[in-house]
Symmetry: C2
Subunit: 331 residues, 2 copies
């Protein structure tokens, strides 16, 4: 079973994947995506993945057989495992617990050659519904505190399979990033009695220099202090702290803006590797006045080196105003 360990100075948690037990000789310094060859995510190979936990498609077909549009399956090599107790314990001054959690793969299309950034809104919406359904289902497990949704696209951004997919991880603790976001937005709220994200949206609409695109329900901006060139945030215009509580009209608008945003990025920098991460409130939390769910899209264009590791600072060679202009002017 994987082990969760806490750094005693920073409170940072690490997953020690003991069973992988990599030895020095196991590290291939430049891993490559397996291109061509057998794809476990393609139709016809359903039996090579663990049994599906979500499926959208032809209802006449048996589970774990072809005929689907979207499938969600447990990860065959999970970072955390679903079976067991948390059993927190100390080891001298250190703290650890069992690596309990869920790790699932969202297969976004049956078509091996279709990439997410080219999915039309009417297909992309099903990916967003799959995220919502899995969040709702995993939220029932009282051992979990947070459900993370993210995507790695391209080898440089950490993808190890070519077939278009995203990932869902249910965690027994709140990730540091969310803890910091909740604390930062609460501190702003206590001072101003307004949501900082709502204020950002208002200022961005007024200034109109970092807007990439918008529709009635959503806005895509390049944030004022982006870690990466062409970093973008997609935010709902109407205040909401939890992704899973959006209504259907919102999901249609989300698919429309996400599809347009990805098309703009991919047209600007063809084939760019990227990560996106859903930032939403902890599961089972009440609606929060100070927190505002959103997606963050991080193109992988710069290297994260000693300076960033040691400081938590980032160096970005592209001002977000320039990036937004390039993205807006895409034809």
């Amino acid at each position: 079973m994987p082990e969760l360990r806490k750094d005693p100075i920073l409170g940072r948690w690490i997953i020690i994947a003991k069973e992988r037990g990599k030895r020095p000789t196991d590290f291939i310094l430049e891993e490559s995506l397996s291109i061509g060859g057998f794809c476990p995510l393609c139709p016809g190979n359903e039996k090579t993945t663990p049994p599906e936990v979500h499926r959208l498609g032809d209802s006449h077909q048996a589970p774990n057989s072809p005929g689907w549009q979207i499938r969600v399956v447990p990860n065959k090599f999970p970072a955390l495992v679903i079976e067991g107790d948390l059993s927190k314990e100390g080891e001298g001054l250190y703290d650890k617990m069992n690596g309990i959690g869920a790790h699932e793969v969202v297969i976004e299309t049956p078509n091996h050659n279709e990439v997410f950034s080219e999915l039309p809104p009417e297909k992309m919406i099903n990916v967003f519904f799959a995220f919502r359904d899995r969040i709702n289902d995993l939220s029932k497990d009282p051992r979990f505190k947070y459900v993370m949704v993210f995507k790695n696209f391209g080898r440089a951004a950490g993808a190890s399979l070519e077939h278009s997919h995203s990932q869902i991880v249910a965690l027994p603790i709140l990730p540091r990033m969310i803890v910091s976001e909740l604390a930062g937005s609460l501190s702003y709220y206590k001072y101003k009695e307004r949501c900082v994200f709502c204020d950002i949206i208002r200022q961005e609409i007024k200034e109109n220099t970092r807007i990439v695109c918008q529709n009635d329900h959503f806005i895509t901006i390049t944030p004022y202090a982006p870690r990466s060139p062409f970093e973008m945030w997609i935010l709902p215009k109407k205040h909401s702290s939890a992704y899973r509580t959006q209504d259907d009209a919102s999901f249609h608008a989300l698919a429309a803006i996400f599809s347009e945003t990805m098309w703009r990025l991919n047209t600007c920098i063809p084939g760019v590797p990227y990560n996106f991460v859903l930032h939403t409130s902890p599961i089972r939390s009440e609606a929060m006045e100070h927190y505002h769910w959103h997606f963050e899209i991080m193109p992988k264009l710069t290297k994260f080196a000693g300076f960033e590791w040691g400081s938590g600072f980032y160096i970005n060679p592209t001002p977000p105003e320039d990036a937004a202009k390039f993205l807006r002017e895409v034809k």
Copy 2:
């Protein structure tokens, strides 16, 4: 002039290197180290770097000419610039200031083919003295709050020049990483009235499962919750919060253990790319009972992807006990 911008939610600072002004077409997705060809750090090419600010070597030679063992020069493409005022200002709800700072390159050897991990202690010690001298000099500038020292080795770890070098950055604000370390270690100190790092050293010596090597003054361990496989920390055994206050005997012991540590790592995983970062107290601070300076060495063996970006969690496939054993048993 570069601009420092603060994320209004997380308080994270970003350096916007406006003059680089990279356009979409400027991003080469896989940059490569320029191997062979002209090297601006080699002897004979001193005039191609900005004038040196530190030099060790033949005292009969003119500055900026050959005959040196170590040279420190300002970075030709600095992330921050030395000339100007901080001029902090707001932009609506956002905060920014001028990108004032220093960015220097420590050329660790005149020999283009000599790598840091193979430097014998009697050469390596001069690198550590250069760090100390530059920290002391930069600390005189009242605009600066922190001096970071780090090294990127290998393309995957962010190095853009092949010739062995490390970097020094003086910053007008405390980096988030140090703020978190100071806060975490202070909170432990308030509870226990002991330094958490001293307690870690005591527990590691007692358990004897994560020690890589040690001498009278220093110990190298694989930390209990490492972000990366084969991550190592080198700590002084005697409590001290500031690198620059070490005596000469300590520097000899530091060079001896650092040289042995790097030899062990490089023998275990030949040619492994890595970063190291000096963690030390803010400049001009009093001696701190709760903080303990140290080096962190991070081999670049895993990818930092959506999960790490979104959570602040890390997945590590090599338990530190296994890594320490491999490193100890190197022949």
